[in-house]
Amino acid sequence: MSSKDPLCVQIAALGGQGGGVLAEWLAEAARHAGYPGQMTSIPGVAQRTGATTYYFEMYPQAHCSEKPVFCLSPDADGLDLMIAMEPLEATRALENGLITKRTTVLSATSRIYSMVEKSVAGDGAIGSDILFEALEGAAKNVALLDLDTISAKAGGPGNAAMFGAIAGSQILPMTEQDYQAAIRIKGVAVEASLEDFAAGYKRARAPKPVEPASTSLHFDKVPAGFENEIAALPEMMRELAAHACANLLDYQNEAYVRLFLSRLKPFADAAGDLIIEVVRRLGSWMAYEDVIRVAQLKTRPGRLARIRGEIGIDQEAPLQVTEFLKPGREEFASLMPFAIGERMMKKHSSRSTFGMALRLPTTTVFGFGVLKVLAGLRWWRPRTYRYQYEQKAIECWLGAVEEAMKIAPELSFATTELAVLARGYGGVRARGMEKLDELFTNWSDKLANDPVALKIEVEKILNQARHDPDRECGKQG
């Protein structure tokens, strides 16, 4: 047979990402240049935010006298070009056998998380690195595009920038002008699209694509006056401990930072990963989000400016910000002196969602003032019921970790992780605290008697805390 092979292109997108328009542009570009081609799609109900797939085939000889027979689905090892508006969807094509050493992959770098990933309490997200690595290994060529930064207009769908990258990749035989003509013929947001197209084209022609910027963690510096204490810590925990100290100084005061540092002492000689985990969990727990802390964060300078940016208005434009707060018995009790608070919390059910549903207008003098007064109660915090309750719980947990280190070291890391149960607000947190209380009762006996069974139980609790934290309240999900 003397004929050439058709060029096969799959486009994967999610509903709303402009995959349909991208596919139409592509088909139009080939048609404009005189290449026979055929496009199809399977949007179905998947257009409502699910994965959508578009498939395009063309024959690489313009104005061909014979008519090619095109196919409506790609073969395995059958793609010349895989376009993905989301990297997980590119990797799905790899899983389906469509991406091989024949395939050039153009993928957006930004993850759009699936419901399954979002539902996990904690970190259920699949990191882009894993996906990129898989694609790099399998495909002939991979170009990763941070469409958010390439696109001239932020917040746009990025499909025109991707279209430019397709042109720039030069896998298909059309010229830059053919692609641009397609945008004009289709007639949707022509000028903005041409601008994005040019940016995408340039990006794909750049000799060595820049690595996508991954979000890096931000560590605060050692607060003044604590340099020596931090320097005295084992090296691997210094950076994180310094960050935690800065955070706690902001949260309370120097004395509280010292309390944190003194609580770390028993773990100075522990294994590396355990130390880090203790610092992270303890630093996080000691800065528990009480009413005072929430008010402090909500009145933080710069917050309103950030929100203005989010809704796209300048610094002088009218702005209304409304907070959704629902203080209940727990929140009121948390501000009371210990004895009163304790009495208030007796017989309080963790299932209760009773409270005062407040819509607090932070952008009014009254609303901001209320939060500011609450934020100003930091001096009072150590006298509150909540403070004493939390410190007791923290001591109890740290004690449990210490005992685990002594009696059953294999359990010490998981025990540290149990602090995850102290996370959250409302019912989720209340149930977590109940669970901790129950677990740490007779802890040393449990450790000594049957560490194997205990390890299984702890793993089970951790697993539930991450994947199914709502279960105890009778919810199905």
């Binding site: 047979m1 003397s2 004929s3 048609r31 496009m39 199809t40 399977i42 179905g44 109900v45 409502r48 935010t49 699910g50 008519k67 090619p68 196919c71 395995a76 990797t91 790899l94 899983e95 056998g97 998380y113 419901m115 399954v116 990933e117 309490a121 904690g122 970190d123 997200a125 894993i130 898989a134 290994g137 399998a138 917040g155 979000t215 963690l217 960050h243 955070n247 996080s284 909500k298 300078p301 710069g302 809704i311 208005i313 002088e316 009218p318 702005l319 910000v321 959704f324 969602t353 409270g355 932070t362 952008t363 009014t364 003098v365 901001f368 959250g424 607000y425 409302g426 019912g427 709502d470």
Partner: protein
């Protein structure tokens, strides 16, 4: 809301597509296949068109609805968006007594099932005018319905079934042939296109459109009474006989004499492939990849392409198989009707030929290229012709090897699925948040679910809705369960489902039986899942006539007393109404109408208005929700209560955080569900709603700056 505004909200405007329907003799049409079929209907001179929207054939109806002035009226075509597929099939009754050509369309298998009563009667009575059903077969990847074959309906009702080769001129030809065939054999004809085929692009050379019969003849028809067309005994016995002895044989003669099925002889040999027309492209691609064909459709292997898959013409089969030892039948779906019939034809003709089919290609699932290529490779590798067998094996294993090497790189963890879900700001979602809270208090409830966007509640994060029995059937399916559970019957249906089947089969029956039931109607104004087609309660017909039929009045009319309206975004109010409905046992049918316009439609219209206002420098309000990342602890309770696509994750920058925090992205529609959930479930204080004004007036800006100055004195910025 005005009808004109509603018209702005349709998912796509079809004005450009509608222009293509007016192309004349010799013009080149380029576009989607479903639109080409619509053009072919006009070329065939249809007098009426109807149908019920559903992917992948909704466009046929959407385009015509937008073309009242350009197509429907000038050509004198009667157009209806039928009440259901049964209604659409009944429309074809116009062709029983009169030489009127007509076509209807729906999604199959579900639409065919709903239509089957009318279809059976129609097929039995027989037609004078060409009656064609354009079937969108929703099978395989992206399908949203049960996986069954329309072929079974064709067999039992003796309906010719066309499954054309996916080449645009062939599809158009076959559509026109469908009318001729129908008139020749007096049977309604099914023309089936798969999802990918409906959306495929291509070109063909047009013919002139033919106006409807009335327009052509310019005289009215006179009423015709013919008892032999009535489906009552003894006519029915005669009709049954006619189907077998006259109509199907006439169909076979037409198929044969017009060579609707195609033979590609290839290089000859004692082997061959028989396939449904719709699988031709996949077969051809498989052959070219295995080295036995090229991209121009030249195949070394003999092929018989069945563009009409029912009825088969035995002579065509035996003549193709005359010199063959074996044949592969490529037939998508189960049961393998064609394969079995071919075996039977071979047996009856006393021939000897081994039939391959479901033994080498999987019985179920879509016949995409990898599946068919592997099956064809298995067949060809086993041939006595060693040249073919060897080449096939080499080519196929090279492909498989490249795939397996590439696949070795796939991530160690399984990739999460990405099913469809409620859109950003969807008004149908909040009620399931309310149900989560109710179930947290009362324990699980059995909820009978319906077809429509609300079916997505069965997926995470809600995981509720215990059964789905069909469109408009949720209430009907709940009656027998409730008594055995300690709860009233609870059914959820959309407004589309209510009008399709829910009023008669569900509400009237429940009211009549005094059923202890709670019906929740999600009233968003459109048939949203299929593209926001209009409904009787929308406010305007599909072609824009302002007519509105009230759901509430319909319910009051049948005597329902207990009806509550709730704002769908008001969780507290919804919850209270649902709990009240659950608790007033013994009061018969209780209905809660949870209403708000489909957010897609609302946003599309809002965005259009906003863009104009911004361009003209008028002041525009921007609103959205946000999350304070510092306050979010990352337990993601909000995700599990909500499920909104724009409520998502953001990697934490604070190393003390335990994983990503919640984040509201730019698509937020400010529907208020995040705030409502934060209150109702007492989630956390991270959420805020921000409202701002772009292009504010001087006075507004002055007041804002005064306010900001005071806040600044208190430390804000």
């Amino acid at each position: 809301m005005s009808a004109a505004l509603k018209a702005l909200t349709r998912e796509r405007s079809f004005a450009r597509e509608a222009e293509k329907l007016l192309l004349g003799e010799g013009d080149e049409f380029h576009g989607e296949a479903i639109l080409a079929v619509t053009k072919a209907l006009l070329q065939a001179g249809v007098s009426y068109v109807g149908g019920y929207p559903g992917a992948p054939v909704s466009h046929l109806m959407d385009v015509l609805a937008d073309a009242r002035d350009t197509v429907l009226e000038p050509y004198g075509i009667h157009f209806e968006q039928s009440a259901s597929e049964a209604g659409a099939a009944a429309m074809l009754g116009a062709s029983i007594n009169y030489p009127l050509r007509g076509a209807v369309t729906w999604k199959s298998i579900v639409g065919t099932n709903v239509a089957s009563d009318a279809l059976s009667n129609l097929a039995s009575a027989g037609v004078k005018g060409g009656a064609v059903v354009v079937i969108g077969d929703d099978y395989g990847e992206g399908a949203s319905v049960i996986q069954e074959r329309t072929h079974a309906t064709a067999l039992k009702s003796s309906l010719p079934l066309i499954d054309p080769r996916y080449d645009m001129p062939t599809i158009v030809d076959m559509t026109e042939h469908a009318f001729e065939l129908s008139e020749t054999c007096n049977l309604p004809v099914l023309l089936s296109l798969r999802i990918r085929a409906c959306h495929m692009t291509g070109s063909f050379i047009c013919k002139e459109n033919r106006p409807a019969l009335r327009k052509r003849q310019n005289t009215a028809l006179s009423p015709d009474f013919d008892y032999t067309r009535i489906v009552l005994p003894p006519s029915t016995y005669a009709q049954e006989k006619a189907k077998v002895e006259e109509r199907l044989p006439a169909a076979r003669r037409y198929i044969q004499s017009n060579q609707l099925n195609e033979v590609f002889k290839g290089q000859g040999g004692r082997h061959g492939i028989i396939m449904q027309g719709g699988t031709y492209g996949v077969v051809m691609r498989s052959l070219s990849r295995l080295g036995h064909g090229d991209v121009f459709g030249n195949s070394d292997i003999p092929l018989l392409v069945l563009n009409v898959v029912h009825p088969l013409v035995p002579e065509e089969i035996t003549s193709f198989l005359e010199d063959k030892d074996s044949v592969l039948v490529v037939e998508e779906g189960h049961p393998a009707f064609i394969e079995d019939q071919i075996r039977s034809i071979i047996h009856q003709a006393d021939m000897s030929c081994t039939v391959y089919g479901k033994n080498v290609i999987p019985t179920t699932g879509e016949y995409v290229t990898p599946v068919v290529r592997a099956g064809i490779a298995t067949y060809l590798s086993a041939l006595a012709d060693t040249v073919i067998a060897k080449k096939t094996k080499e080519r196929n294993s090279a492909i498989e090897k490249r795939v397996s090497v590439a696949r070795d790189n796939k991530p160690g963890q399984p990739l999460p699925p990405r099913p469809p879900s409620f859109c950003t700001g969807c008004p149908e979602r909040p009620i399931f948040s309310a149900f989560k809270l109710i179930m947290a208090d009362r324990g699980p409830l059995h909820i009978s679910m319906d077809i429509g966007c609300s079916t997505f509640a069965t997926l995470p994060p809600f995981n509720m809705g215990n059964t789905v029995l069909g469109y408009g059937l949720s209430l009907a399916s709940s009656g027998a369960i409730a008594g055995s559970l300690d709860q009233p019957a609870i059914a959820v249906m959309g407004d589309g489902a209510f009008w399709h089947n829910g009023l008669a089969t569900g509400a009237i029956n429940a009211q009549w039986q005094g059923m202890d039931a709670v019906l929740i109607i999600l009233d968003n104004g459109y048939a949203s899942a299929t593209g926001q087609q209009h409904l009787p309660s929308t406010g305007a017909t599909p072609i824009g006539e302002p007519v509105q039929i009230s759901i509430e009045k319909a319910l009051r009319g049948i005597g329902v007393q207990w009806i509550r309206h709730v704002d769908s975004y008001d969780i507290k109010g919804t919850r209270a109404a649902v709990e009240e409905a659950l608790d007033v046992r013994g009061k018969g049918l209780r209905v809660i109408m949870s209403g708000n316009e489909c957010m897609l439609a609302k946003k599309r219209r809002g965005n259009a208005i906003k863009a104009v206002a911004l361009a003209e420098g008028e002041s525009v309000r921007n609103a959205r929700y946000g999350v304070d990342a510092e306050i979010c602890t990352g337990d993601h309770s909000c995700m599990r209560m909500n499920g909104c696509p724009s409520l998502t994750l953001k990697p934490a920058t604070d190393p003390l955080k335990d994983g990503p925090t919640a984040h509201v992205d730019n698509n937020c529609a400010a529907c208020n569900l995040c705030g409502e959930n934060a209150h109702a479930a007492q989630l956390c204080p991270s959420f805020y709603k921000a409202r701002g004004v772009v292009n504010a007036s001087a006075l507004q800006r002055w007041r804002a700056s005064l306010n900001m100055r005071m806040l600044k004195m208190m430390g804000a910025s």
